[in-house]
């Protein structure tokens, strides 16, 4: 009935390409105008297909987009790295300990006791320490810098006092140390503590070395000293014999016996 719009199609100038409209809805409508089925098919065929890689992204390790150069430009990072380098350079003893959370007052006390022995407690971030160490000669200390840790640094090597302080603090565990450019484990540090001090060991060495020369002197003098002792004994006995003969006539037996000796 309404297949053709009123008198339209048979007018001159009718474009056969235009579809015969049934209801006369315009091109731009407020509602979503229903598409011709052919057009719907065309839209379905020409949809966007995203590129699919052979291995899906979920199966590959995640891409890390870390820009480390920007971090080094940061002045603060450079300062911290300089501090770390200084700590490693200026101190003879560097001890790496595991740091577990502990009450602030205990922490303060521990720092106080360590300060008395001229040991400083330093906190450094692993992400700063690791690049500094990897480029210096302390590469073998790198495995220690994982998780929360602190550095105890000191220009002297008072290991015994340090161990005593740390024994009283259960939250700080010794992991390793670098004393006089020698890397020591926990047992190594304990053995180091048991060693006598440098002065004592020096004295011991000197004493051991000087033992033989001192013996030489006494060896050489042994003959004459022995003779002197014997003569002294003899003199004493003669004197004793002379006193005995002056006291009673029975005494000469003793003097004779002493003479026989």
């Amino acid at each position: 009935m309404a297949a053709l719009s009123g008198g339209g199609p048979w007018r001159r100038g009718w474009l056969p390409a235009l579809q015969l409209v049934r209801h006369g809805s315009k091109a731009v409508t407020r509602h979503w105008k229903a598409m011709h089925f052919q057009r719907q098919k065309l839209m379905a065929v020409t949809e966007y297909l995203a590129p699919k890689p052979l291995i899906p992204e979920q199966c590959l390790p995640p891409k890390k987009e870390v820009v480390k150069e920007a971090e080094e430009d940061n002045g603060y990072v450079r300062l911290l790295r300089r501090l770390v380098a200084e700590a490693f350079r200026d101190n003879r003893m560097i001890v790496v300990c595991q740091y577990n959370p502990m009450p602030n007052e205990d922490m303060l006390l521990m720092r106080h006791y360590l300060r008395k022995h001229n040991i400083e407690v330093k906190f450094f971030l692993n992400e700063i320490v690791r690049p500094v160490l990897s480029q210096s000669k302390y590469k073998n200390l790198l495995p220690l810098f994982v998780g929360r840790n602190i550095l105890l640094v000191s220009p002297e090597t008072k290991v015994k006092e340090m161990l005593r302080v740390l024994k009283g603090v259960p939250q700080i565990n010794l992991l390793g140390a670098c004393i006089d450019d020698t890397i020591l484990s926990k047992k190594g540090v304990e053995n180091f503590a048991k060693l006598p001090s440098l002065e004592a060991s020096q004295g011991q060495t000197v004493g051991a070395l000087a033992l033989l020369p001192s013996q030489t002197c006494s060896l050489l003098q042994r003959g004459s000293v022995h003779l002197t002792a014997l003569l002294d004994e003899y003199i004493k006995q003669l004197q004793a014999g002379a006193e005995a003969t002056a006291g009673s006539p029975t005494k000469p037996a003793l003097s004779q016996s002493s003479e026989a000796h």
């Binding site: 091109a27 979503w32 995640p62 692993n126």
Partner: protein
């Protein structure tokens, strides 16, 4: 369901033990530099008239083609850094203008931000017949005026000494209330959108594109399509903008 960890567990903790997550070094970001930003004298949006200064005498035909298709003007930023982008066609009448003006005027800080219109005041007369009358009797009298907005056009622009995060909230509020789909954009986000569209066009795995089929008139498709579809390439349908299509 299973949440993937953002970084591998063995990083730095392989032989040494498990990695306990903790905060790293704080990265101090410098605040943005607004030295080259000048605020205009009147930072708030200008009041738009309901009726133009010279009201139209002659009633105009509907001309819905001013809604159809992509916009050719005000598609790029001019003064501000952030704005509202129209993603569909429609008419803005005085009520919309007042809503935009008052909301943005209320939410922005005139000392640090300014806002600028990117659409003209209502100029197109819309006629309405009185209610309850039958068809016929000529065209109705002019009822109100509207502004036509095509998709891809910026409606308002906001700029000044502010970040997108501050401005985004009230711009999205306004965008939701508009008669067409709209979104709050900044210069960066707009550029990114355009780049993404270009990339999609380049890396489309489907060898059959709307443009290709229609320009070659494959399968006689042009019988069911309009000559405007040669221009719109399947991305526009009436006043709607089909964002997901390439």
């Amino acid at each position: 369901m299973w949440q993937r960890l953002g970084r591998p567990l063995a990083a730095g903790g392989g032989p040494g033990g498990t990695l306990v997550p903790r905060a790293g070094l704080k990265k101090y970001v410098l605040p943005p530099d607004y030295s080259d930003v000048t605020l205009p004298e009147r930072p708030k949006l200008k009041f738009m008239d309901k009726v133009p200064a010279v009201p139209k005498v002659r009633r105009e035909p509907r001309r819905l083609r001013d809604i159809r298709g992509p916009s050719s003007e005000a598609t790029e930023f001019s003064q501000g850094q952030y704005g509202i982008l129209a993603l569909g066609g429609g008419y803005l009448h005085w009520g919309h203008f007042e809503m935009i003006r008052l909301t943005i005027g209320r939410c922005m800080d005139p000392k640090t931000m300014f806002a600028v219109w990117r659409v003209p005041a209502p100029y197109k007369p819309i006629t309405r017949k009185s209610l309850g009358h039958r068809m016929g009797g000529g065209k109705g009298p002019i009822d109100h005026y509207v502004t036509a907005v095509k998709s891809g056009r910026l409606v308002v622009e906001v700029g000044g000494r502010c970040e997108f995060g501050e401005v985004k909230h009230f711009l999205t509020q306004v965008a939701r209330k508009l008669p067409f789909p709209a979104v709050a954009v900044s210069r960066d986000t707009l550029q990114r959108m355009q780049k993404e569209e270009e990339e999609k066009q380049l890396n489309n795995q489907n060898p059959w594109t709307f443009e290709r089929i229609i320009t070659a008139n494959m399968l006689g498709m042009r019988k069911y399509l309009s000559p405007y579809d040669l221009r719109f390439k399947g991305r526009y349908w009436g006043k709607f903008f089909l964002k997901h299509r390439v």
